[in-house]
């Protein structure tokens, strides 16, 4: 191996010696924060926001001062609100950085203000750490790209901007949609991006690099939902046996099922089962669980725990079927919370009819929960199955053969054939459709575990057929980093979403849902559109964009 | 003082004076007991093999009726506590490590600093216990290297300790 490839690139992009042109890319989720420099292929740091409830109180000043805070003795470790210390108090419980209903007006004004205060203080701490502990760079020197989820509360965006501008004095911030950034990492600009995160899953169609915001759909079937479901399963199905007396069974104490505990189980033991079991209508949950148990081939895992009350060691046996079936809750929707499958197909059914095929044949699954081993393959099967059997999606059933994830490989023959067939119907260049792979022709019955798990194999497959219609780089990037990597790409090309400059920061930020107008090149932020609230998910009002007059398309306000 | 200990010390062993030995103790060739260690054979006897090192503040207790057999070339570092049933060869109890009652140690185990075993368990060979949460793993390192260091350590102690400490002999 000669000169590393990255070195050559660096030269070609004229990075200066200090590399100040490279920007800071931040992806701030509710549980994890990803940060790094643009132009790099992976984030530098991936920080978890585990934080105790107790520590949360500290932000409000409700808590007692820890014992070290005594006169002169104090001062060595009483950086009370530093994250480290907060985590240290009870490192096993955390609170999400933000909630989706943060801005809900029905909560009393005081608590909302308090919540905002907590958010801001936490952000200030995290971001201070990001700059001075992790990235070790002067915030004043580099512009910032935020990979934002389009539906994140506006208060979050405002707090981020406020902290970055006021506390850290960054020169500019640009909010750039996570879904689009993630899509760019596949080398295409059209696709249906499914961001399966912690609080919710959002599905956003993107056409020619334009996010089709009116069609965005969400469901709470995501990481947090899975944790809650897992908690329920553990409580009901997994008694703890005492090590010294294995016949003595105990129910898991509530206090043990902390977020951290659940996160541990979730990230280390769970996966999505490769087998689909057809549920009859009206089947009881218990019966279904029995079915799961009967067909499960996975092993039981014993987790050693300490029972405080009994002062004894216990063994928590997590059966294989829970490990493979806990994630079933993501696929079984109801009216309140649609399943992943339904929310995807719903989105597809709503886009203009000639976009349906390009969309469904360019799925991209990203987000933290997408790290769950085998989730994507399972989702693929579920979508095909729904298209074929679910009456609700009858109108789309013709698309069953076209379902494809952008980072899946498709056997060459199949894709060539599919491409030929699809050539007339697809729109964008570089897009095609695929037939299902031969391995899972019958999604009804069990497909064997096909390509699986998060672990990416460093072995790379040589391009044996360079003329393939599909050229996917496969699982080269982790789903939970794709958004960040997209940000890094865009940042290294000296572009980004509209920039908001420090001089012009007035405390407000552009809001997706209100389609606020931003003139990118001048950096001027005109706050004309203050009309609508952040709840406008399907906001009709759209305003023209004045960006150097380059944009010809669609300067019209339209009704949806 | 309690009843005088019954010591059987190999002539090639080194047992410093300033320590607390009780009950029946057999010390094999090349074993070194630093000053300030505590070896209590309150139940059955304690039998050291050859080439062990027992540093200061170490506590080795045998409460049970069975003899506590300690193999060869084990290291008991400062402040470690051994209450177990049996210990194989070439184990290391790091500083303040604690082997609890009824536990068996195989060969080449490392009980890390301030770590402890459970009671009544059998640790397979090459187990290492480490960290805040007593995490465990089986390691695959090369012990041959460490053996030669251990031998040199013994050699050093045999030379140096008698210059500053009085030693005991069999009773």
């Amino acid at each position: 191996m000669a000169l590393p490839l990255s070195k050559i690139r660096d030269l070609s992009f004229k990075t200066s010696i200090y590399g100040i042109e490279e920007r800071i890319v931040l992806d701030i989720g509710s549980c994890y924060l990803k940060c790094g420099f643009s132009g790099e292929a992976r984030p530098r740091h991936f920080l978890s926001m585990f934080l105790s409830e107790e520590a949360l109180d500290d932000y409000l000043g409700l808590n007692a001062i820890s014992e070290q805070h005594v006169g002169h003795e104090c001062g060595e470790s009483c950086n009370l609100r530093s994250n480290q210390n907060c985590r240290g108090i009870n490192p096993y419980e955390y609170a999400e950085l933000y909630q989706l209903d943060m801005m809900r007006k029905n909560s009393s004004g005081q608590t909302e203000q308090e919540r905002l205060q907590i958010l801001e203080e936490r952000l200030a701490d995290y971001l201070n750490d990001v700059y001075f502990k992790y990235l070790l760079t002067d915030p004043k020197q580099r512009k910032v790209i935020i990979c934002e989820s389009p539906l994140a509360p506006i208060a979050l965006k405002e707090s981020i901007a406020k902290v970055l501008f006021e506390k850290l004095q960054v020169p500019s911030v640009s909010f750039t949609p996570n879904h689009l950034l993630a899509l760019l990492t596949t080398g295409t600009a059209t696709g249906l991006v499914i961001d399966c995160g912690h609080l919710e899953t959002t599905v956003l169609p993107i056409y020619s690099s334009r996010p089709l915001m009116p069609f965005i759909r969400t469901t709470p079937r995501a990481g947090k939902f899975l944790s809650t479901h897992l908690k329920q399963l553990l409580k009901e199905k997994c008694p703890i046996s005492l090590v010294d007396n294995p016949t003595d069974l105990r129910i898991i104490p509530e206090g043990m099922l902390t977020s951290a505990f659940l996160e541990t189980i979730k990230t280390r033991l769970l996966f999505a089962s490769p087998l689909i079991i057809n549920a009859r209508d009206n089947i009881g949950e218990d019966e279904m669980n029995n079915n799961y148990r009967d067909v499960s081939t996975s092993t039981e895992v014993n987790v050693e725990v300490w029972l405080h009350e009994e002062q004894a060691r216990g063994k928590l046996a997590i059966p294989g079927w829970i490990r493979e079936r806990a994630s079933e809750c993501l696929f079984n929707g109801d009216e309140d919370a649609e399943s992943l499958t339904d929310v995807i197909l719903e989105t597809v059914s709503k886009v203009p009819s000639d976009l349906r095929r390009p969309m469904i044949s360019s799925l991209l699954l990203i987000g933290g929960t997408a790290q769950l081993p085998n989730l994507q393959n399972r989702l693929l099967q579920e979508i095909r199955r729904s298209l074929q059997t679910n009456k609700r999606w009858k109108a789309l059933s013709g698309l069953a053969d076209a379902v494809r994830f952008l980072d899946d490989f498709t056997p060459a023959e199949a894709s060539l054939a599919a491409a030929a067939a699809a050539a007339t119907s697809t729109s964008a260049a570089g897009l095609g459709a695929s037939s299902s792979s031969p391995m899972d022709v019958d999604p009804e019955t069990s497909a064997p575990p096909r390509t699986t798990t998060r672990d990416k194999d460093p072995r790379k497959k040589k391009k044996d057929q360079p003329k393939k219609v599909y050229q996917s780089s496969g699982k080269v990037f982790m789903p939970n980093c794709r958004g960040w990597i997209g940000g890094s790409l865009v940042g290294s090309l000296k572009s980004s979403g509209p920039e908001l400059l420090r001089e012009n920061f007035t405390g407000t930020v552009p809001d997706w849902s209100t389609f606020t107008v931003v003139s990118a090149s001048s950096g001027l932020y005109s706050s004309q559109s203050t009309s609508s609230s952040s709840t406008g998910l399907h906001q009709q009002q759209q305003q023209p964009l004045h960006s150097e007059g380059t944009l010809a398309a669609s300067a019209l306000s339209i009704s949806y | 003082m309690m009843s005088r200990p019954k010591l059987t010390i190999s002539t090639r062993a080194l047992v410093c004076q300033d320590n607390d030995l009780r009950g029946e103790i057999i010390v094999g060739a090349g074993t070194v007991l630093h000053p300030q260690c505590r070896v209590w054979a309150t139940g059955g006897p304690i039998m050291f093999g050859s080439g062990n090192i027992v540093e200061e503040h170490v506590v080795i207790i045998n409460r049970g009726p069975e003899p506590l057999i300690i193999g060869d070339h084990n290291v008991f570092e400062v402040g470690s506590v051994m209450e177990g049933m049996k210990i194989g060869n070439r184990n290391t109890l790091e500083v303040k490590a604690h082997v609890k009652t009824g536990t068996w140690l195989g060969d080449e185990c490392v009980i890390g600093t301030v770590c402890s075993t459970h009671e009544n368990e059998i640790l397979p060979d090459r187990t290492v216990i480490y960290g805040d949460k007593n995490d465990r793993r089986i390691y695959s390192g090369n012990k041959a290297n460490q053996m030669s260091v251990h031998m040199r350590h013994l050699e050093y102690l045999m030379q140096t300790l008698p210059k500053f400490n009085h030693s005991r002999t069999s009773t």
Binding site: T176, V305, W306, F409, S427 | -
Partner: protein, 560 residues
Amino acid sequence: MLAIDAPPGQGKTHQPFVHYRCLCSSPGSSATASTKSSSSSIHDHEADSTAAGTSSAADMNIDNTAASSSSPAPSSAGALIVRASPTSHESLFSEHHNPRSTEEIFASGNSSDEHGSMSLSRLYFCDSCGEIRCPKCTQDEIVCYYCPNCLFDVPTASVKSEKHKCSRNCFECPICQNTLSVVSDDPDVSLYTPGMTTAAGQYHLSCNMCQWNSNEIGMTFDKPTGLAVQLQKAEDGLPDVKEFGRLKDHLEKYFRVHGLKQGLPSSLLSSIQSGTLQSLRYVSSTNHKAQQSDDIAHYTPAVQVVEDTENLEKLMSITSLDETTSMKQRLLQLQNQTYSTQRLQPQRIHLRIKKSRRCRSCRHILVNPEQKAQATRFKINLVALNQLPNITIAHIQPMIVQTVSTVILRFTNPRQEEAHVSLEAGDGANPNHGVRILSENFTIAPFNEVWEYEVGTLTAPPGQAQEDVYDKTANSTSIMLYITPVAPGEVKIPLFVTFSFKARKLQTETGSPKLPSQLVLSGAAGRDSMPPAPEVEYVDKKVSFWTVIGFGDAVPTLSS
């Protein structure tokens, strides 16, 4: 063992403490608002310092209007001129608010809530503002980079390309994050004599905590130096880096083709929000060929990475939690976030920085360490501890509700000038405990090196001091307080301290504007602009601040 401790739950006992309040966290404070134009903040500072200078020690009610018209430009801010700013500050300034008056400070912190207050040792004292500054209202700047393991200084130029990690031989264990040692198979070989002929691959990294060894993952080295370079090379050759480079080229071409003005892509990112229905309809109804130019060209990936099917199978058959990586381990392995403990790679040790701190309002440097990594000295160190009276609780009686308890507070003067202190108990506490201060005004003798050596004689007989104080020794004065708790629970009271002294003003011949050492106080009253007088000049300084003092828990009644 996954022993998860439940949060402590039971109420903690509260320890006595003395905290000083920084005004930045008090409600309605504007101390942190420094993102506005810098002129206004300088303006603030200017006014502050002049006002502080004029206020005489005895006079509690400062006439700040007079202060504002007094002489401009103390030496430390010689270049600055008080301007009649057109902002709203002007009106405030002409009244008595802008320089924080004693009353204003009084009003801002009169509560026992210790939120925003800290022990003196964590605080700074900006002497041009005359105010306490906490770590939150200082601006951090990076002074130098070093490796916390080998303590080598890393030149700023190479920091980023080395990814802010040590490029020498410092590595972190992938299992337990302990520092790894480079070891040789042969104990007789010294690691410190390079140039010896050694067996190939005889060196490896080893952890003396968890006994991990780089042999386990087949990583060995021929020589014991320069290992970091070898590792970084391997890291840079991973598929994601290659793919990233390819994507960058691809997108750059695309951005360029679209005539991106001023480096901003027209259609791609700035037009995101224009992804309207209107444009879609346009797209849908016209020839797709016409739109093609707007989409990304066909992309050929640089690498193809297949998922590893082995992993799912492995995950299905594990029996213990230890067989998969923890989130902590995984998040330090961003090259693949592997589930498999056998794939964890050692990581280079992350650098640390030395920071300097500036006051956010007046931009003066508060702390400036020496540039060398190993030095512990400071060029400037305006910590509050050296400038404000240190309050310690010298004696305390148990607190009993509705019973008078005696507390002795000792005030220690760190300055080389005699100081006058006046105290005032706040009434903003909740609950408002009864407080009686026996000596509200007293003096403290100056600090003198000589007293250092007679610490043994610190107990002069109490009650014999000339002033009406409890005790006077060396540079400290103790006073007595009677506390009558009104309710059980933690007893804490706000205490307002006004501290005045005659500061020695050193005339620097050069008039160097950047020398705010401890002794140079920038506040000055009625003095000539530039007298070359060699004699020491004294100026009156007065500093007011809030403290919160906790006396531990009060018990309901005396149990007889």
